[in-house]
Structures are given as structure tokens and as C-alpha cells.
Symmetry: C2
Subunit: 195 residues, 2 copies
Amino acid sequence: MASPPAASTADLILDAAERRAQSFGFNGFSYADIADELKVTTATIHYHFSAKSDLGADLLQRYSRRFAEALAEIGGRECSAAAQLGAYAQLYEDVLREGRLCLCGILAAEYETLPAQMREQIVAFFASNEAWLAKVVRVGRERGELQFAGEPRDRAMAILCGLEGALLVARAYGGVERFRAAAEIVLAGAAPAAA
Amino acid sequence: MASPPAASTADLILDAAERRAQSFGFNGFSYADIADELKVTTATIHYHFSAKSDLGADLLQRYSRRFAEALAEIGGRECSAAAQLGAYAQLYEDVLREGRLCLCGILAAEYETLPAQMREQIVAFFASNEAWLAKVVRVGRERGELQFAGEPRDRAMAILCGLEGALLVARAYGGVERFRAAAEIVLAGAAPAAA
DNA sequence: TGCGACTCACTTACTAGTAGGTAAGTGCGA
DNA sequence: TCGCACTTACCTACTAGTAAGTGAGTCGCA
């Protein structure tokens, strides 16, 4: 009867940092904040992540990996393009319910203040989301489920931007209800069902 | 021949702060940054804006006032709803060209770290934008230019979110070209032309 | 089996630099 | 001479980051 593996200190630090970064931004928390929460010293955090930029890079790497896994799972489902897009939007809604934003969304706002590696990771996150969405809408059109003109990639960009923006705005103004309303219109507008 | 009125120090401070806030966020610049640029001391800035929260409140007040004036000007034009929405999107594109974000968009990302007054001002900005957009699409539908089901207010929210998100994402990933592509799809999707 | 060498994870105590903010004083124009 | 706009000189709090040390555990080896 093995007990569940205790989370390592490094993981606990990443968990606390992720929560704070998604709420307050990368510049909105300090090593001291995390140290207080975990009842360790700031030197402990420096032991695991020697500079804050390293913590940020590890944070983005883990977040992007998990997000990609979630997209792979949704992409593997035997369901319509509309249902896959709905599941995609649900990922966003789930973080909003916790009062957070998409990590890469909030870090995009701080983009100009972030180290080069983190910038590249944010760009890569958007690119991979766009690619996943483009594939979904392209296949949906090929199957005759969706109907639109132009490039799937542009549709994908519109969906990504619409949902990131809805998260950003709805956290401050409107809440989950208005997020859903906006998300529905964005999805139906960018990837309309075939007549 | 009166020479143009010299900008007051308070205005110069607001100008510098606005530029920085739209690029780096409200927590992304310091009094020292502005003081360096204007060749004054930080005490000078404290003389005009005793606390940073006062500077932030004045910044938001001026920004919102100017934005409302721009919307009033566009709203007064004798043109189609689509043209007014296009002009609205152009306001966003113009700030992106300068490498900035909408002030309230970037501050929405920092929302949880901002003082109460600034939060209220951000919410009011979104509400007034939504109201303006809702009126444009409602009138457009009444005139038979636009065709959509449901509440104009939801259409307005989708447009606002789509453009704020497009600004956020496109500054880091894609640039002005991708912004235009996304904005076009968002507008056409949320406020479709009548058949 | 026992012991020295070593590593891991962490703490204590500190640094330099920067943040916002303040009190007192100065120069200059009306 | 009054007071506006500003400077000088300072403060406290906090930032990321570092050097040195500690106790517990592990490894190789006689």
C-alpha cells in the first residue's frame, strides 16, 4: 500500500508561483510571497530556481506541456469540430472560475518586461494553440460541419484572441456569465456551422 | 501669433506614465523612470501626484475621457454600422502600431494588484465601450444593415473582448497583419452584414 | 559493521539596488 | 513678499540574489 508520492518542494514552489502568476502576473509576486506560503525561506526557492527567470521558464514549460496534453486529449475525441471548440473554450472558463487568467495571456500583457526565454515560450504557446485550432476548423470544414472562407489559420487566430480577451475582460467586468456569452459568439462567428 | 501653450509638467508626467503603462503595465514603471525621462526628481512627481495610485487614477480618467471623445466623434459620422465598427477597430490598431496595448486592457491583466479606484475606472471603461458598441450594432440591425439574433450587448461584449485579446496576442505574436485578420473575423462574426 | 567522504535540501545572515514616499528648504515670478 | 514649482536629502520597506553553514541521509570501502 504505497502512499501517494509527496509533492516535491520544487513542485510546490511551481504550484504556488503558477497560482500567483495567473492572478497577479509574473511581476506581481515575489520569492518572499511564495516562501511565506510554503513556510520556507527565500533561499530555498533560490536553491531550486536560482533566478526568477528560471522559475518563470520552468513555469511556462510545465504550463505549456499540460495545456498541450489537454489539447491532445480533446483532439483525440470522436466528436464534431464544434464540440472540440466548445471543450477548448471550457478550458478557459475553468481558469476564470478560479479567478485566474491563462498564464500566457497575463504574461503577454507583461511581455515587454520579461526575459527573452519567457518571451519565446509565450510566442510558442500561442503558435501551438493557433495550430491546434486551425487543424480543428480545417477538418471541420472538410467534413462539411463548418462553413467559412479564407485561411483556417486566421479563424484560429480570431478564436484564440477572442477567448484570451474574454478572459481578460470578464475577470474584471462581467464574470463567467458574460464570458460564456462572448465565447459563444466568438466561436459561432469565427467557425460558423454549415447551413 | 501666440505660441502653442507649453505642456505643463503634470501633463508631461501623465504622457510619460501613459506610454510606459501601455507598454509595461502600471507595475512595470517607477517614478524614477519618469523622473529620468523628464530630467526632474521623483519628488517633483510626488508634488503633482502625491501617490502612485493618484497618478494611476488621473491616467485612467484622461484616457477614458479621450477615448469617449473619439467614440463620440465616430458615432456622429454619417456612415454605416460596419464603417463605425471598422473605425473602432482602427483605434486599437493605431496603439498596436506604437507597440502599446489599450491602457485598460493591460491594466485588466494587473487588475488584482491595483487600488480600488483604478479597478472601478477600468470596469467603467469596459462598460462604456460595451454600451457604445451595443448601440452601434443595435442601430445597424434596426436599419437592416446588420443581421444577428440575441442581445446587442452580447455582440458588443464579443467585439470588445475580441479586439482587446487581439491586441494582447498580436503584440507578442503575429503583429499588425495578424491583428487585422483577427479583428476582421471578429467584427464580421459578431456583427454580420445582412444578406 | 562501522566509518569517513560526500550530497541533498535547507537555513541563517547578509548584500546591493530599487520601490514609493516625505520633510524641509530654495529660487523665482507676480 | 507671498506662494508656486521644484530640489535636496532623506526614510523605510522590499526586491532578487549570495555566501557560508548545518543536519540528515547515502555511498564506497576496509
